[in-house]
Symmetry: C2
Subunit: 338 residues, 2 copies
């Protein structure tokens, strides 16, 4: 176990390094923080911290920088979540309230997060699988061609084209529309399948194939396509750090273009606890010197999607966590209102 002062030294190192982006030495430490001990003592502490793997030297006789393990200890034991200022909160609220539809909410959220944290922001669209049906609409575009429009309680709209095996009359369509809505409105997506299974049987034999086609498309949309959409922004912030590396920015940009990677980045945890993944804790090569701060958000009590930021491991964790949490809350509010 590390003594109290050693922890204090680690904290000081993290803070200084985050600020200056340069390895921090014993002398600078004692000057900028009043630790009440001499540089020599700090050096001894540093040697211990290094043995334990919390800090490292880029090369002999340079200052120390925190390791992933060091950052981990920092966020677990020492870093609070810095709340935002009142002004910031108001700005968030105002900015998000101007949104006209779901796309706009997500777009604004991304911008907001990127600006607030000065890092790359990632926002997942409210997931289909965790939300519920507000309305199902069926439109006839041509005699044997329908469009299915699905509206969720989070304001998301999905549409699908359906080619029917046979023409469908308006009356049948209206009938189907009414029954469908009666059964599924208000239901969670996952609960829908059993509720509509027997629907075709209540129609004339001639119409059953068409009804079946509609249902299969509906179920496909609801369940079988967990393809989640994601929006990201603030990529320009990648250039703020990384003075040394087009070398390191490259794989990050590549990773950020992969929807799958982004989804995994945000994590699959369904509860709304904030997760911080640091450096090598990220499974993905090329994200080994980045950290991800993510949290769920939702219109109600439960999270329907996640959002977060990815930045260099040397980030201001308390500040970033504060911003992420605050934005998630406000987005949740906005979604609940619409």
């Amino acid at each position: 176990m590390l003594s109290e002062r050693r922890l204090e030294v680690l904290r000081a190192i993290v803070q200084d390094y985050v600020g200056t982006e340069e390895p921090v030495g014993s002398k600078a430490l004692t000057e900028r923080h009043h630790l009440g001990v001499s540089p020599a003592t700090v050096r001894n502490d540093m040697a211990v911290l290094e043995d334990e793997g919390y800090i490292a030297q880029p090369h002999t006789s340079a200052g120390r920088i925190p390791t992933d393990k060091g950052y981990r200890l920092f966020v677990d034991k020492m870093a609070g979540v810095k709340p935002l200022s009142a002004a910031e909160r108001r700005a968030i609220q105002n900015f998000l309230e101007g949104a006209v539809d779901l796309d706009d909410v997500v777009a604004r959220t991304v911008r907001l997060l990127a600006q607030l944290t000065r890092q790359v922001a990632v926002v997942q669209y409210p997931s289909l699988t965790r939300s519920s049906v507000r309305h199902v609409e069926l439109l006839s575009l041509a005699p044997a061609r329908l469009m299915l429009v699905l509206i969720t309680d989070t304001g998301r709209v999905e549409q699908r084209l359906i080619d029917c095996p046979a023409p469908v009359t308006e009356t049948v369509l209206a009938d189907l529309r009414a029954r469908l809505n009666a059964r599924v409105v208000g239901r969670r997506f996952a609960d829908v399948p059993p509720l509509v299974q027997d629907l075709p049987e209540s129609f004339e034999a001639d119409d059953r194939p068409a009804v079946a086609a509609v249902l299969s498309t509906l179920l496909e949309t609801l369940v079988e396509r967990p393809e989640e959409r994601i929006m990201l922004g603030g990529a320009a912030n990648l250039t703020r750090f990384n003075h040394d590396f087009p070398l390191t920015i490259r794989p990050v940009l590549e990773a950020l273009e992969e929807q799958m990677v982004l989804l995994k980045l945000l994590g699959e945890a369904t509860d709304s606890a904030m997760t911080v993944r640091i450096g090598h804790e990220n499974f993905h090569e090329g994200l080994n010197s980045t950290s991800v701060v993510a949290v769920g958000y939702g219109s109600g009590d439960e999270a329907v999607a996640k959002l977060g930021v990815v930045g260099p491991t040397r980030m201001d964790y308390p500040g970033t966590m504060g911003a992420v949490r605050a934005v998630a809350r406000y987005v949740g509010q906005i979604l609940a209102e619409s």
Copy 2:
């Protein structure tokens, strides 16, 4: 006027520079291209080309690189549009045909363009203002709360919430829905306003405010919100060039995050001719060493939106133009089919 051979020299310089990314000298030129003259002669030609402003030296006694003006002459007079190989065409077709909805079409198009050109791809969603109405749907979410869903012939779907001043009965709603569709389906957006102006008058006085609310939201969606959405991809390609400059990648990334800038980049020309804007021809600072190749695409004869790529001025213009044009065509086809 430049002699035939001087043009040939310019072409050779452009091609070599695009390939090697290094200033090209007279000797290398005569070796790689059989110009039939000696290096000394080429040097004289180069001197002339430099006087005319088509090429420049990074510093005395270095090779030459093309200026923006040089590239301009190159694409105007010398560069054809390199057609894609049959294999590439097939790949495009296959890839785009897998799309399930408009979002997916756009997403796939962006990927495709980025991969094909190895540059940053920009695709504008089919514009609202230039497309026509396929269907208007009205849903009642609560007694005095409606949702308007608008489906365009390009498959785009817009939805809006409407708060009505008074509750609306289902019959009135059905009536309104039917009349609305009868009047506007198949119409271009711009033509809609006069067609619905007198609609409120045909309803009971009690319902007119609600009808008016619906109409105003509809018109707002059709006309007053020319906010276009844009998707981009392939940002990682920015790192392929620019070995020298995180300095130059920064402003580009920033510019690419501004929807407005992107829209202007694609240009406002409504016809489907391809535009190439080179270096300083771009109004925007920070895009001064990038070129933009853009072209309109559409489901029919007329362009409903644009797409293109942005890359370094030293790009393979014929190849890029070929890819952009081909992708635009196939996307047009796909949209027409859906």
